[in-house]
């Protein structure tokens, strides 16, 4: 039983990393959103699984949030934003796909190296989980910094945050997990609203119109 539990958890976590890679690979917006939705679903699954094996019911809430909010609400909202702002569909990347993938590999390797140092005293499940979580976090950051497009950066941030939730739920009996996931969902909501409110089209750092492109502080 325990082995099975371990394997499933492992599988799900690994799946997250894999999906992160798919995100890195994607260069079409809608597809990216769909993949992110998948990411969220898998996260929800793994959280739920954790809830089951740690028999910690409150984690189900987190799973639910992940499922509803991240897998459905946000992607839909972003779809509409893309339509309304008329963001054109394909993402121009700062770094081309190939090197990005390589960098991703490197990051995963790095996180493995770091985490496998951890003494076996910490229970293996947590350990593996952390390794995966760390890689998901790093990959999320990678997405953020390699994509020029606002929406995809939001997506990157959310995947990063998925990694956090994964880690948090992997940690046995960690308090405040639910609160944290809620807080983060709100944060993301803020960002999405911000993107919509300031009608950020292309780059993350230009609010509304070109007039502001000049403004980088003092460049007046």
């Amino acid at each position: 039983m325990h082995n099975l539990a371990f394997d499933i958890a492992h599988l799900l976590a690994g799946g997250l990393v894999l999906i992160s890679f798919m995100m890195l690979y994607q260069d079409r917006l809608y597809a990216l959103l769909n993949i992110f939705a998948l990411h969220a679903v898998v996260l929800a699954a793994s959280v739920a699984w954790q809830a089951f094996i740690q028999n910690a019911p409150h984690l189900y809430v987190t799973a639910a949030i992940a499922l509803v909010f991240k897998a459905i609400v946000i992607p839909v909202a972003l779809h509409r934003i893309i339509k309304q702002l008329g963001i054109h569909r394909d993402i121009e990347t700062a770094v081309s796909i190939g090197p990005t993938m390589l960098a991703g590999m490197g990051l995963v390797a790095l996180s493995m190296v770091l985490m496998l140092r951890v003494t076996g005293a910490a229970d293996p499940l947590a350990r593996e989980d952390l390794a995966f979580a760390l890689s998901v976090v790093l990959l999320g950051l990678l997405v953020m910094v390699t994509r020029r497009n606002a929406v995809s950066q939001v997506v990157g941030f959310m995947s990063l945050e998925n990694g956090l939730v994964l880690a948090a739920t992997g940690a046995k009996g960690m308090p405040l997990v639910v609160e944290i996931s809620v807080a983060f969902s709100i944060l993301i909501a803020f960002i999405v609203i911000g993107v919509f409110l300031f009608r950020i089209r292309e780059r993350f750092d230009t609010v509304d119109v070109g007039a502001l492109d000049e403004f980088r502080g003092e460049r007046r």
């Binding site: 770091l114 985490m115 990063l160 990694g163 750092d205 502080g217």
Partner: protein, 482 residues
């Protein structure tokens, strides 16, 4: 005991209740008054913490020697800033940069922010501390964007995005700490309670702690404004209302620093973990040198002092990184002095920008002639921040440099170099601001000098005479910092 916990409760309750009421109330005079009163109340509550005996550290709240210093400093500057902001905001209303609606929001947010910071200080729970820091950050984000100009919005946006990434990193670090504690302490809330953690930290898994510390250093370091994570800081200072700039420089940075320190202590307890010193020293020096160079090209007066904040944060982190009783003492002293001085400077700068109607350094000349009070206080402020005697920062810099040179001569060279660079830049600007042919509006300013003078008076006395009890206190804390 009960009285004590009450005091702690007051420190948190007053701001939050005040926030609620202020959100509801209209009218400038009333709200500003309430704001001041609330801040004063919080200050008194914080001061009362000195006299009454400590409560037992609970699962959430904690009062110990380290954080009480921060709390008192925090509430004090919060109070003076509220006084300053009263007169400042009045002017903003006249010029119509702020509408009453936003004003209400402003005051409410101010109190929420104070609440967040106090909470961060008193929290005995790393999770709670994280939440508190984030509350403080988000509120300041909203305040920075309050003018709704493009510049302000973008500054706020930048702050927000970088901040949230910082949040994420800090959280991951927190989780890692919990994971490290898990095998030793067991599941549940205890594994996040600071006092418990510190008592058992020696047996934690070092590898986890190391990774955790890096994430925490970067996460909270983003808010400390360490280069190269500083990007949000200058714009946030420059575009927000000046009271917020004062609070940012004087307080929020300290909050983040406090968090970093907590975890430094945690790591210091564990023998196998990496010593956080070298990391902090490196980042400190980087920030110092970087900011020192950046100071030369500044054209906006508020951004200038924002960068000087980065520089001083670098010095402080450097000092704590060096460790040892002298350096830690110096670091604490430097932190307190910097908060007082820098907020004082921002008070002066706020009035100056209001009366001159510009933040461009090029358009401000000969202040000592047109506005002697403001001009000379600016001079005093810069003299203080540049580390000239007889003001407080001189003492801390003296201790830092001399002790560093005695222990690590090679580290002292870049340190001294950075100090000199920053010095040169600051005075280059000061000479053009305070002296020379007057330029710009010469109308008399209706300013509230009291907070400014209070701060500088404190800094001056500290530079010449530090009261014995305070010193003992600091030394105790310094040893506690290891």
């Amino acid at each position: 005991m009960t009285a004590a916990s009450d005091a702690v409760a007051w420190v948190l309750l007053i701001p939050i209740c005040a926030a609620a009421t202020l959100a509801a109330l209209p009218g400038y005079r009333l709200t500003a008054g309430i704001n001041i009163l609330a801040s004063l109340g919080t200050l008194l509550a914080a001061l009362s913490l000195f006299v009454i005996e400590r409560p037992q550290p609970g699962q959430y709240l904690l009062i110990d020697d380290l954080n009480i210093v921060f709390i008192v400093l925090n509430t004090f500057v919060g109070f003076t800033t509220s006084v300053f902001s009263a007169s400042y905001i009045a002017h903003e209303l006249e010029t119509g940069r702020l509408t009453p609606g936003y004003l209400r929001f402003y005051h409410a947010m101010y109190q929420v922010m104070m609440f967040g910071m106090n909470l961060a200080f008193v929290s005995n729970n790393i999770g709670l501390m994280w939440v508190a820091v984030e509350i403080a950050t988000l509120t300041t984000v909203l305040m920075v964007g309050i003018y709704r100009t493009h510049a302000a919005l973008e500054a706020a946006w930048k702050y927000f995005i970088l901040g949230s990434v910082g949040i994420a990193l800090a959280l991951f670090g927190t989780i890692l700490v919990y994971m490290a504690a898990l095998p030793v302490i067991g599941e549940g809330l205890d594994a996040m309670v600071w006092t418990v953690l510190i008592s058992r930290a020696a047996t934690f898994d070092p590898a986890l702690l190391n990774v955790a510390f890096i994430f925490l250093l970067l996460g909270y370091g983003t808010k400390v404004g360490l280069a190269p994570l500083h990007a949000w800081l200058p714009d946030a200072h420059a575009e927000g209302p000046t009271p917020i700039s004062a609070v940012l420089s004087g307080l929020l940075l300290n909050v983040a620093l406090y968090a970093v320190l907590r975890f430094k202590i945690l790591l210091a307890v564990n023998p196998d973990a990496i010593s956080p010193g070298p990391l902090m020293v490196t980042m400190g020096l980087t920030s110092l040198l970087f900011a020192a160079f950046m100071l030369y090209r500044r054209r906006d007066i508020k951004r200038l002092f924002a960068y000087s904040s980065i520089e001083h944060m670098g010095i402080i982190v450097f000092a704590f990184g060096m460790g040892g009783p002298l350096a830690n003492f110096a670091g604490l002293l430097h932190m307190v002095m910097h908060s007082l001085t820098k907020s004082g400077i921002f008070y002066a700068v706020g009035h100056i920008t209001q009366v001159k109607g510009t933040q461009r350094i090029a358009n401000i000349r000969g202040l000592t002639e047109t506005h002697p009070a403001l001009g000379w206080s600016l001079v005093i402020g810069v003299v203080a921040i540049a580390g000239l005697p007889p003001l407080g920062i001189f003492m801390s810099e003296f201790l830092i440099v001399s002790s560093t040179f005695a222990r690590q001569p090679l580290l002292a060279i870049p340190l001294v170099f950075g100090l000199l660079l920053a010095f040169g830049a600051l005075f280059l600007r000061l000479t053009s601001l305070a002296f020379g042919e007057p330029r710009g509006n010469a109308a008399p300013a209706d300013a509230s000098y009291l907070p400014m003078f209070a701060h500088f008076a404190l800094v001056l006395t500290a530079g010449i005479y530090l009261p014995g009890p305070l010193v003992v206190w600091f030394q105790h804390v310094a040893n506690l910092l290891g």
